[in-house]
Symmetry: C2
Subunit: 326 residues, 2 copies
């Protein structure tokens, strides 16, 4: 840990100089973060109020390690470079970044973030794994809310790349930028949001699917098994390669997303889910089409269809082997 | 084609004896079906009103063939075993099964299914690729609605295994059973539904996600790129292996789905999507938990976590190689 002068936030650490991470909360998410940090060669100083936390996180790391080895360990990476402390202040002594992964209870998060803020070096950034609260509501008891930022991972954090970064009203924009750069630096796929919305992005999308699924079960329209099969053997095979928007773009053939929206727009009015559809205004239509064009430009005119087909085959083969125990 | 006695439906063909398929409509879906049938070693007799249909479907088959070779061709499979006819009756002469994949226009489907029914041997089954209409509404003009059944594929039909099978009010249950067995026989992952609901199952689920995504774009809450990234690098990596329900079960740790529902049930009330949530009654809770248990039993106590981790790694590696052009 470099002790910085007090003209914060100009003196935020260069992400390359981070060596030690504070992990607060060692459940499935916090433990998964610890495994990810260890695999990247960091020292992890952890705290969790449960007496079972240390043995539990060590089992989790042990179970995750073969996967992490297969993805590639970084220099110095060791499952043993974690210390679990009984006092929060001891865990946070000298750390360069803190990832908070406490249970999703607002009052608990508020108090814990205030405690972390009070104990940790005032010049470091504190990320929260919250899956739904805004930093604006969580940071209310902290003295330095400007260095608190949401860094929302997906389970398991050592395998799923996505991290959604979003600040609260009091978060410094420099801290949002630093956190985005930091998570990128540690191999994450980062979405930096410019506003707080409940559930962020990915959770809103999967929650929409989840709610429709629950409605279908509630009405006897589909079983749990049918729901899983419908996604796993159906559209779920297309999404890892391109996401839902580019997938629809491809379904539009040569006309792409524009054709899809112009041709199938009316079916938005069909009772295909219980979620009311937005009005497909010219503005919305153009925003979606332009968004696809932007992504396509970034992908440099690659043959998306060939890419999709190769991805689906690879996924099907991999999952087939795994399911049959090959 | 075996000519059957007229005590239909007792004399439905054994699926193993099918040799020749009628493909009606040769767009992306119909052409994709043709490619799938050819790869399985069938003869395909096709019809499409467009003068460009023959050259277009041949290009589609040519483009799909390397993927089909990689998945494994069946005995006798050849991209050349397709004939494209200018008269519907010529195409349907002697076929053992018909797959209708016309554009999604109800009046067109109604007329075409009536024409197919009039032209095809009265003892064979006719499947429709419709992505949203019920067979009850499509079959109104046909003389033998009992042999018309929905067999809804996903694009591309030669790669995505899912087929949703559901009959209309006049469809014989023997035909629904036959179609399910037939699609299984040709390597499909079949969901047989016991009632008609708009959008079937998978489309309802992806439509819920799609509508939430459109709302987010409309409100400036997320870009197309962020939406795709959030799914492709996030929950989309978990769904191909286990689907959304079992994925949530795993997120519940040792308590599984029951823990998830009991613990996070209240968050269903959070404004995480615009879709109103169903009331989480005891009955719904138990239906979901029991459904997970059923699937888990079928999977024979395998280590789901290890399976998930291996799947995510395989998917990430495969997609990484594809994206970088390796």
């Amino acid at each position: 840990m470099t002790t910085s002068p007090h003209d914060w936030p100009a003196q935020l650490l260069a992400v390359q100089t981070v060596t030690t991470i504070g992990c607060v909360g060692l459940g499935t998410i916090g433990g998964g973060w610890a495994a990810h940090f260890l695999a990247r060669g960091y020292d992890v100083h952890a705290w969790d109020p449960s007496p079972q936390a240390e043995s539990r996180v060590k089992r989790l790391i042990e179970a995750a390690w073969p996967a992490l080895e297969e993805l590639g360990l970084f220099e110095g990476a060791s499952p043993d470079r974690i210390t679990v402390h009984t006092e929060l202040a001891d865990a946070l002594e000298g750390v360069d970044f803190v990832q908070e992964s406490a249970p999703e209870v607002l009052s608990l998060k508020q108090q814990l973030l205030a405690d972390i803020d009070a104990a940790a070096d005032p010049h470091i950034v504190v990320g929260s794994s919250t899956s739904g609260y805004s930093m604006t509501e969580m940071a209310v008891s902290a003295k330095r809310p400007e260095r608190l930022v949401v860094g929302h991972p997906f389970n398991p954090p050592y395998l799923i790349p996505l991290v959604e970064v979003v600040g609260g009203q009091a978060t410094s924009s420099a801290v949002v930028d630093w956190a985005s750069g930091w998570y990128e630096h540690i191999g994450k796929s980062v979405i930096t949001m410019d506003r707080e919305i409940p559930g962020f992005i990915a959770n809103r999308l999967q929650e929409a699917l989840w709610r429709e699924a629950l409605h279908m079960v509630a009405n006897g329209e589909a079983t749990v098994e049918q729901i899983d099969k419908s996604i796993a053997d159906g559209p779920g095979l297309r999404w890892p390669a391109h996401g839902p928007m580019l997938t629809f773009h491809m379904a539009g053939g040569e006309g792409g997303m524009a054709h899809m929206l112009d041709h199938f727009g009316p079916s938005l009015k069909s009772p295909w889910t219980r979620l009311d559809s937005p009005e497909l205004t010219e503005e919305l239509r153009n925003a979606v089409v332009d968004g696809c064009d932007t992504v396509l430009k970034q992908r440099g005119g690659k043959d998306l269809i060939a890419e999709r087909d190769r991805a689906i085959i690879a996924i099907r083969k991999a999952i087939g082997e795994i399911r049959t125990g090959a």
